[in-house]
């Protein structure tokens, strides 16, 4: 399917599109729908339709009545003539161009008075609306019938326009149902043609019959050749598309500036090009031959409906209009009337004389008609889209809008038309003559895009208000949406005075508040921390005092503090160990942290020394990670402090079972199954396979369980989890001995002093170790530490006492000072 070229942007679009896909312009013209018109209604034979009543008489007279071709002859007609026989409801008689309307019968001319042709109908130099010269306007408008002709060929035979009906053979009224005038576009309406708006190009055509066109010498050459010259122009194109234009320059008249296609028309046509059968007289169609015959015997004209044509003319098949044209054109009365019409009009300078139009000036047309083998494609088959240069737009618009299409149409003239414009084509004299022009019809969308010429004055009432656009594709249009919405056009708000009416006291309060707020932001120097230096000195003084109390007895070895008396719990522990058999298995749990190793090492060493003296087999275990190392260190220190030193070595004298993870749960597991909970020694050897522990299956198998810890929680876990597992059925209970730090003694002592007697002995703190050594008569770390410990303990007690008294004196002094100030 062929593409449709957009009339606006010139780009190709698919044929099925109605709007341009690039510029959204409408591709298919909005025509006054023919379908909207009343379909052809059969009328009685010989009757006239209502529309015919509106037609001028001369036009009604042009229709030969009874020119009805027999069907067999109708088939011989060319297609466009066939189509012309049928009535086209859409193309009525009003579609008839003015220049063709001028080809009316002389009788009709006679009936029209001369007064009906005002001066405005006389040929105008140019159409201001199109800004085209006359010759070009006429040429453009001549294309209109050609375009319509192309449409008619495509349309069925029923779409024959009235002008063909009226000029062709007489058709029965039923086949040429007229349409009311109100369905016709203005520019097609007969009133427009008959009224004062006849374009200038139609004026010569209308006046053409003033010349003797009917005679052979009055006709253009090409028309003359139609009668007998071979190779005449195609009859289907020439009469319609080539009405005699009004050449406005000698060059144009001579054809020197004609475009090529026009010049080619003057060339002898190829024999094959005379497809209409005009190559020779014998090749002429019958209707032309009949027309020649009929010229010799003109038909009888009647004022009423056209009388039936002679049978010879009907058989010839010549169209009515051609037959009338060939019969000799107009009568004398008509010629005179047309001559009178031309005379009073303000004929422009370029307006050719009547003789120029149809006399010698039409030689070019005669030559062109005689030699044109074929018309340019643009004239033969005009595009379906609107052609602005045609001067007759296929759209029905208001007459007022059509006046402004001229500049746009002039700008879009094709090159060949631009080149064909004569150089000396003078502008129309007398300025724009709107009343004498046929208003151009533009589609509404095209009319909407019509730019408003600068300085055109006030817009009309129909135009939208607002400033016209100055740039862009909408330039010249009014009432367009503004680029910037009004809401964004922020205007400066009106400033309202905000001055408050403040009283003097309010002003004073406000200033006071501002001053207070300002003071809050000012930095204030912090008061000197006098107590900081005193506390620092006090701390250093206390440290020095304690250190001196420790170092003096260590270096001087004097004075020696007396050893503490052993308590019941210490004595109980000593008795338990003392009661152990030699080589007894003793489980020693070393669960203290390095921080308190100084105290617990001295305390535990005294007890461990006793165990070593007893020759107990020691199995060390720990629930804290560092307990295993503390056990090794404890054994080493105990060995060294012994007098003589002990020689406990692993695994012969002792065994380090290592770390038992899991806290209380691990302890419980160790109580239930010591072999599984601690299967290996610290050096990854099986602990329970050989040695003293080979017969140990549970903790109850140990002779003594001693726990060394500084943590009361650890001591409680051992008491709670391990204590119940130390019961030996029938043999009593394995004693549980606690060697604890002084800080844990208050929490462990209830387990010892309770009736249940969960702990059988407690050695707590350095005093417990010293007392234990004293019980044993040994001198160990506890004894070494005891003198400095006791002195520092006394010094600390004195410091606490003095400090308490000092603080009490300060408080009492402050209270008295307060009471004195209160009384004063």
């Amino acid at each position: 399917m062929a593409d449709v070229r957009c009339p606006m942007c010139g780009k190709s679009n698919p044929a099925e599109r109605e709007t341009c896909q690039f510029c959204q312009a409408r591709l298919k013209p909005l025509r006054v729908s023919p379908s909207g018109s009343t379909p052809a209604q059969p009328t009685p034979m010989g009757g006239q339709s209502n529309r015919d009543d509106d037609l001028p008489d001369w036009l009604r007279d042009m229709r030969p009545v009874g020119d009805e071709l027999p069907p067999e002859q109708e088939e011989d007609l060319p297609n466009w003539l066939k189509g012309s026989d049928a009535t086209d409801p859409g193309v009525e008689q009003s579609d008839l161009p003015d220049w063709l309307k001028s080809f009316r019968s002389p009788a009709a001319v006679e009936e029209r008075p001369v007064e009906d042709y005002p001066a405005k109908e006389l040929p105008a130099a140019s159409d201001d609306a199109f800004a085209l010269p006359d010759w070009l306007s006429g040429l453009d408008k001549q294309a209109t019938p050609s375009e319509q002709d192309a449409d008619w060929r495509a349309e069925p035979a029923a779409d024959i326009p009235d002008w063909l009906v009226s000029s062709g053979p007489a058709q029965p009224p039923a086949a040429s149902a007229p349409q009311p005038d109100n369905d016709l576009p203005d520019w097609f309406s007969p009133a427009a043609a008959q009224d004062e708006d006849l374009p200038d190009w139609s004026q010569p055509a209308a006046a053409a019959p003033a010349q003797p066109p009917a005679s052979e010498e009055g006709l253009p050459d090409w028309l003359a050749e139609l009668t007998g010259a071979p190779g005449g122009p195609a009859v289907d194109d020439t009469p319609e598309a080539w009405a005699p234009p009004a050449p406005s320059s000698p060059e144009l008249e001579q054809g020197g500036d004609f475009p090529d296609w026009l010049q080619e028309l003057n060339q002898p046509a190829a024999p094959g090009a005379a497809e209409a059968g005009l190559a020779g007289a014998e090749d002429l169609p019958d209707w032309i031959r009949d027309e020649e015959t009929r010229r010799e015997t003109p038909p009888e004209r009647t004022a009423g409906p056209a009388a039936p044509e002679p049978a010879s003319a009907i058989e010839a098949g010549a169209p009515d209009w051609m037959a009338a044209f060939l019969r000799g054109g107009f009568g004398e009365q008509e010629e005179q009337e047309l001559a009178e019409r031309r005379q009073p009009g303000p004929a422009p300078a370029e307006t050719p004389a009547e003789e120029d139009l149809f006399g010698g000036d039409l030689d070019w047309l005669q030559e062109m008609g005689a030699s044109a083998p074929e018309l340019p494609e643009s004239l033969e088959a005009p595009p379906a889209g609107p052609r602005l240069t045609s001067g007759v737009a296929p759209f029905a618009i208001n007459d007022s809008d059509a006046d402004e299409i001229g500049p746009l149409a002039g700008e879009q003239l094709p090159d060949w038309l631009a080149e064909a414009r004569p150089a000396d084509a003078a502008p129309p004299a007398g300025g724009p003559v709107d009343s004498g022009l046929t208003p151009a019809e533009l589609p509404s969308w095209l009319e909407a895009m019509r730019p408003v010429p600068a300085g055109s004055g006030k817009p009309s009432d129909d135009e939208p208000s607002g400033e016209p656009e100055t740039a862009g594709p909408l330039a010249g249009l009014r009432g367009t949406l503004p680029v910037e919405p009004h809401i964004l056009q922020v205007s400066k708000p009106i400033a309202h005075p905000l001055k408050l009416q403040v009283a003097a006291d309010q002003q004073a309060r406000a200033e006071l508040l501002a001053e207070l707020v300002q003071r809050e932001g000012e930095a204030k120097p912090l008061p000197a921390r006098r107590t900081l230096a005193s506390q620092h000195i006090l701390r250093i003084g206390i440290a020095i005092l304690l250190i001196l109390t420790i170092l003096v007895p260590l270096f001087l070895e004097e004075p020696q503090s007396p050893m503490p008396l052993a308590g019941l719990q210490t004595s109980a522990a000593n008795e338990l160990i003392q009661a152990l058999p030699g080589g007894a298995n003793v489980l020693v749990a070393v669960d203290f942290e390095p921080g308190l190793s100084g105290e617990l090492t001295a305390t535990a060493a005294a007890v461990l020394d006793h165990l070593m003296i007893k020759g107990a087999y020691l199995a060390f275990v720990s629930t804290t990670p560092v307990g295993s190392l503390q056990a090794e260190r404890l054994v080493r220190i105990t060995n060294e402090q012994g007098e003589p030193p002990h020689q406990y070595r692993s695994p012969d004298q002792y065994l380090n079972l290592g770390f038992i993870p899991g806290g209380p749960a691990g302890l419980l597991a160790f109580v239930e199954s010591p072999r599984q909970a601690a299967p290996l020694t610290l050096d990854n050897k099986y602990a329970w396979m050989s040695g003293a522990l080979e017969n140990v299956q549970s903790l109850a198998d140990f002779a003594l369980v001693m726990v060394i810890t500084e943590n009361p929680e650890t001591a409680r876990n051992w008491i709670e989890q391990v204590g119940p597992g130390l019961e030996r059925p029938g043999q009593g209970k394995t004693p549980l001995l606690m060697v604890v730090s002084a800080q844990a003694e208050p929490l462990v002592r209830p387990y010892y002093e309770g009736v249940s007697n969960q702990v059988q002995g407690v050695v707590s703190g350095l005093s417990g170790g010293a007392s234990y050594e004293d019980l044993m008569g040994r001198s160990g770390l506890a004894r070494t530490f005891w003198t400095p410990f006791s002195l520092s303990l006394i010094a600390a007690a004195l410091l606490i006492l003095l400090g308490g008294l000092f603080n009490a004196g300060l408080a009492l002094w402050a209270r008295r000072k307060g009471d004195t100030e209160g009384e004063g």
């Binding site: 270096f555 770390f659 008491i719 119940p724 969960q758 707590s764 530490f785 410990f789 303990l793």
Partner: protein, 233 residues
């Protein structure tokens, strides 16, 4: 002990101990770099030691060796702690931490059950029995080696101390009209008495802590004195 008979590692150890001890004592003059250095060293050494101990004393001998080289029974026993221990590692990832909740729940459950069971059986019942048996004057007097009258006084003091301390932590009060809630007069009186027992207990604990710290101080300065004697005979 003299310096000539002292082994080099022991000498180095003693010197390192001396430096670290003096660094800690420098806190007398306030917080300083030496103190912080010593603290960081202790923390680092302890952590490294704990890691090594956990690997060589627990993970390798008690988990991996039974799992790989143990009998079928040992493997079955080791597979569960292995899986639970592996799930504990997911606690390091916030996205997968929920997976580690299973072994954590297991550990907490077992730990709490063990602690509660041990506390009830090993502490509450025995201590309640001890508080009751205090008034078994003859048995208690015989065990304590005192007379019955003295044991009676001891029993009364123990009872008063126990009740007053427990009542002190009783915060129930009856509301009164237009007055703040207040405990009843007997409860308030016993609570006031309980303050003294609590104060004495805290005093005893503080004395124990102080004596333990003072013993550690004495041990350190004794170490320094011994080292000084060793170096400066």
């Amino acid at each position: 002990m003299d310096l000539a008979n002292l082994a080099l590692p022991d000498l180095v150890g003693m010197l390192v101990g001396l430096v670290l001890t003096l660094s800690v004592f420098s806190y007398i003059f306030g917080d300083n770099a030496l103190f912080r250095l010593a603290i960081h060293i202790f923390i680092g050494v302890s952590s490294a030691y704990v890691l090594a101990l956990a690997w060589y004393s627990v993970i390798w001998p008690q988990l991996l060796v039974p799992l790989w080289l143990g009998t079928q029974e040992q493997r079955l026993l080791a597979i569960f702690p292995f899986l639970l221990g592996g799930l504990l590692l997911t606690k390091a990832s916030p996205r997968l931490a929920w997976i580690g909740s299973l072994p954590m729940a297991y550990l907490v459950g077992v730990g709490v059950a063990t602690a509660i069971g041990g506390a009830v059986i090993g502490t509450i019942f025995p201590q309640v029995a001890a508080a009751i048996n205090v008034f078994d004057l003859e048995l208690a007097a015989q065990a304590a080696g005192v007379s019955t009258a003295v044991q009676l006084v001891n029993g009364v003091v123990f009872l008063l101390g126990t009740l007053s301390t427990l009542i002190y932590f009783h915060f129930g009060a009856r509301p009164r009209t237009n007055q703040p809630p207040q405990r009843s007069a007997p409860v308030e009186a016993l609570a006031w008495v309980g303050q003294f027992f609590i104060a004495i207990t805290f005093g005893a604990l503080f004395a124990g802590v102080y004596t333990a710290a003072l013993a550690a101080l004495v041990e350190r300065w004794t170490f320094i004195a011994d080292l000084i004697r060793l170096i400066l005979p």
